[in-house]
Symmetry: C2
Subunit: 338 residues, 2 copies
């Protein structure tokens, strides 16, 4: 086992449901220094696990294990504490609905209770990971010094709610899904999810210029099957639906601290923020990041000028990785006022 | 019956398949003048029938029945000559694959054989209708004086091929589809198609600003069910798949006249072209129309500055309708050199 487990006991979520014997799987890189001042949190994304984040971690990179203590917590529903491996009665279709806020609450428990951490130098992440970065800064404004969300927003805006409705509907059209009570995976639906997501994941120019060839695929259909269907066939259907619900309901203000006042939540962020939308991201268009960044007092908007669409943050294009890494280095080099 | 039927006998398509007793349903508005110089062709789109085009036709509008003879031919597969109503053995899943080129060939037969028309003042249309307009100009450069394709391109670019893969996969995930041999409609799949298309049909800003309220829907879910699921539940699944194939394979150069030389085909267009992409169209982004318009010798690019996304051409937003109508008037007022 290449990761650790944090067991907070029974966890009650915003939905009012309790997950018995919840656990948070996480992996750390590097060593916590004596002052506990070198902490970076780097949450995972829809369908990704901690190992899928490792492309951005390495000696000499911004996320530098010799220098920082990097904690990668797994999103609930991503295959660790998830519908697929929770005991009855909260298994499969009965897994509680979990918000991004709930995830961050649990990650906060991990950092404070397990490690006694009081300050976080940086929270960064991609997509739903970016949403967790925003949530960290809104939930704990005095604790989070910097955030660097890439290809993700502080709430899921309505169009992306619709996008995810399409993803869910494609999966649920497969009768083998059986409203979540399947014994065998609904593979037709999982493959359909791959094809639906293929359009949202990369940009017009990516497909026009056949950039999938750089990933080792030799035709469009090769890419659709090999990359997209392949990715989703490895996922559990209920896990995907649980994470889709989490994604659809992301909103840093949907909690007692802000009572739905989204602008107030953005204005309350004290962290120095480097907001990095993908220029051609069809899930999280730059226009929504621009709006959010304007309301965060200490934010820089730095679009990733790339045709890789949403996948700028998937670690699949070296130029985007370099861009993000350099931006993180710049941000980490900046002093913060509190 | 509010339309007419053209019966060309057996029609052989590019695929090499023959449709026995093919028929082309069409409707005309206005009267053909003695010189046969007042002809406008206005083909239909994916899922639309002639009556769905009528929002752009009316006294005093550019498409003015007192002035023009407007012919609206139905796309093969849209419910007239279609998988759903063709006799065995070419019914349901065995309906031949039909290209945009095939459609235009058939429309040409109608105009020349039935009406003796030699010149067309304008071909206009939305989406796959726009693709037919481009095809008309490429197939019959000396016959077509003007084209005004809106929210559609001269070929289906790769990203939109992917988009349609997602649409098809959502439908085909429903086992009731039964590879096309259903007796009852695969309604779960049809509803899923509605949800997938909802993301592609309108822009980020449309959903953010809740513009669906202007169409009489009171929430996002109300719109998803009432508009999107409602539209697709009325469609036949095999018809949708037939038209999706037509859409995916649109390419004005994919025929013996151009042998796949797309740029040559664009350069061969003699018509005065007013190319009108929707500024925030997620199916047919303006960047692809810009590329095409540059290669057409006599083209003006006039984006429709609207947040209605692909639906700029659906007749659902009065401002877009006015914009298109005014542009058509301008184009029709311009003399052509041949």
């Amino acid at each position: 086992m290449d990761y650790d487990i944090f067991e907070p006991g029974n966890v009650t979520f915003q939905s009012g449901m309790t997950l018995q014997n919840a656990f948070l799987a996480y992996k750390t890189y590097g060593t916590l220094n004596a002052q506990k001042s070198n902490v970076i949190v780097y949450p995972t994304w829809y369908g990704g696990q901690h190992s899928d984040n490792e492309w951005l971690i390495g000696n000499g990179m911004a996320l530098d294990p010799p220098k920082y203590f990097i904690v990668v917590p797994n999103l609930l529903g991503n295959g660790f504490s998830s519908p697929s491996n929770t005991s009855p009665p909260f298994d499969q279709a009965r897994f509680p609905r979990v918000t991004v806020y709930d995830n961050v609450q649990l990650q906060y428990q991990l950092l404070t209770q397990k490690f006694g951490i009081e300050k976080v130098a940086l929270v960064t992440g991609w997509s739903v990971g970016a949403q967790q970065a925003f949530q960290w800064a809104a939930s704990y404004p005095d604790m989070v010094e910097r955030i660097a969300p890439f290809a993700g927003t502080a709430k899921t805006w309505p169009h992306d709610v619709v996008t995810l409705e399409g993803v869910k509907a494609a999966l649920q059209a497969d009768a083998a899904w059986n409203h979540g009570w399947y014994r065998e995976p609904p593979t037709t639906g999982l493959r359909a999810v791959g094809r639906v997501c293929a359009g949202w994941g990369f940009s017009w120019a990516f497909y026009r210029e056949e950039r999938y060839r750089t990933l080792g695929y030799h035709s469009l259909e090769d890419f659709l099957v090999g990359y997209w269907e392949g990715f989703f066939l490895k996922q559990d259907a209920n896990n995907l639906l649980a994470m889709a619900w989490t994604w659809q309901h992301a909103n840093i203000s949907a909690n007692p601290g802000y009572n739905g006042d989204f602008e107030k939540a953005l204005r309350s962020i004290k962290a120095r923020a480097m907001v990095m939308p993908g220029r051609h991201d069809l899930h999280f268009p730059p226009e929504e990041s621009e709006y959010e960044a304007k309301l965060i007092p200490n934010a820089i908007l730095r679009p990733i000028e790339s045709i890789w669409g949403h996948a700028v943050g998937a670690g699949v294009n070296p130029a985007d990785t370099t861009f993000i890494d350099q931006s993180l280095k710049e941000l980490l080099s900046q002093q913060v006022a509190f």
